[in-house]
Symmetry: C2
Subunit: 284 residues, 2 copies
């Protein structure tokens, strides 16, 4: 593995570059993106040089797509035709079903293997990139078939993911989207809807405590990214919302009875399971 | 102010004692509670001595009730009759309507002034008590009439609250319960219902990221305390749930349209307002 190209050298792409270096990668790291972003990434020492997607397609051994989902889909079409044989293309898109389908349809000589590092922070851009961003986080790969994991490039990518301190998770793309609807997309909509509800309560901050502050943090996420996630996973998200509302309505019905205890117990157990040791410690 | 008695020397009561000392109070601090708790609190240097509620009623200048709500209601009845003239009784109960009514009905010679310090942490008990627990948090007082704030004891209590680094908030008890239903009780039920929904998704932890970990933290709260909160504020909580579900259903209906943006914008603004500087900084 001599040359890695990263399309979209922002928080995720930049952190991928820094994490590779920290894991010992000594080859060339190229960055694809706007003139300004490329220049900033070179100046910060995150990448060695900027290049076009076409140049990346003809020279890189691994291409990492860390653009928004719609742009990843476009680049998959371009790279499916242009990437040289032996090149592995992976991505960081937050939904995987459509990306996996497009990868399977577009790629011939090169290999496509979808991925989703489940990491991020509020600060964006390459200046926030962090070699340890992926440490302790799930990194999902969604092979179209299990044999996709056998290639030398795929094995190398998986070794890097483990070297980053991430928990490697192998999932079917559709299964990823069902699970992510529950654990991520629903969670965003809950935070957004809670904050939107409080928008109608001007005095809310007079009784705000730590819990509501914590529960409205992701409500400050920008809509742009989320629009593309919802647009590419709407059915699973609707089902997740419905399941959640059924649970909340059950709690509402039992509100002033002692019977609410079994819901608290179930919730308590599930919250602890999410934190159980084989998920590594998510809390920094 | 020579003698302060604290009924329920756990996390909140113990922290009140330590915060008073840190603020310079040099009088006597007595603790009411079980033999074991009193002994532990004395051993840890949190209180000077243990006593019975009757002894507190006949000797203390200020009595702070930091028991669960139902027990606070019982002690209000006892102290309304027994507390000596000039004594101020306040509390830390998480709902205020019923407590305020009971205080108004029970107290004759002594003064009752309900309160709610909006602080806490996951660890419980006097061994977790912390002189800075209330720093940067809202501390609500709910006077039955504004003149209740004019007494020397009330003025002294308010000065201590400000010395603790808390934000003093004066609210009508009913208004407190309406607001707390939105900013606290609803928030708990959302976290509980989210975790209960994930209980049906055994593979959830394979795609869990930081947001779902954060949003299910308070789902690990014990039911005991919450049962008493819901039982003493059910109507406001039901209204808060209904308002929240309306917002979530609106988001669901707009899911794959660009129109969701206005909800994100509204939510973003409300989340930022909750964090605005005049609320002090809630993030540690």
């Amino acid at each position: 593995m001599k040359t890695v190209a990263i399309s979209g050298v922002g928080l995720i792409g930049g952190s991928f570059a820094l994490a590779l270096r920290k894991a010992g990668f000594s080859g060339r790291i190229l960055g694809v993106g706007s003139e300004r972003t490329r220049a900033e990434a070179v100046k910060l020492g995150v990448i060695d040089a900027g290049c076009s997607l076409e140049e990346a397609a003809s020279t890189a051994d691994l291409i990492f797509l860390s653009q928004p989902i719609f742009r990843v889909l476009e680049e998959i079409d371009l790279l499916g035709a242009a990437a040289r044989a032996g090149c592995l293309v992976t991505d960081a898109g937050s939904t995987k079903g459509l990306i996996a389908k497009r990868g399977a349809a577009s790629f011939k000589g090169a290999q496509f293997l979808g991925g989703h590092p489940m990491a991020g922070k509020e600060a964006r851009g390459v200046s926030s990139a962090d070699a340890d961003l992926f440490r302790g986080r799930n990194w999902v790969l969604t092979p179209a078939k299990l044999a996709d994991l056998e290639t030398e490039s795929a094995q190398w990518l998986m070794a890097q993911i483990r070297a980053f301190g991430s928990r490697l998770v192998i999932l079917d793309a559709e299964e990823h989207d069902k699970l992510a609807a529950m654990t991520s997309h629903l969670v965003q909509l809950i935070s957004t809807s809670l904050a939107a509800t409080l928008a109608g309560v001007p005095e809310a901050k007079r009784t705000a405590g730590p819990a509501v502050i914590e529960m409205t943090r992701v409500a400050m996420s920008p809509f742009g990214m989320w629009h593309e996630i919802f647009a590419t996973n709407p059915e699973n998200v609707r089902q997740a919302i419905d399941a959640f509302i059924r649970n909340l309505e059950e709690a509402r019905a039992l509100l002033d009875s002692g019977d609410l205890e079994h819901i608290f117990d179930k919730a308590n157990q599930a919250a602890r399971l999410l934190r159980s040791p084989n998920v590594i410690d998510f809390q920094k």
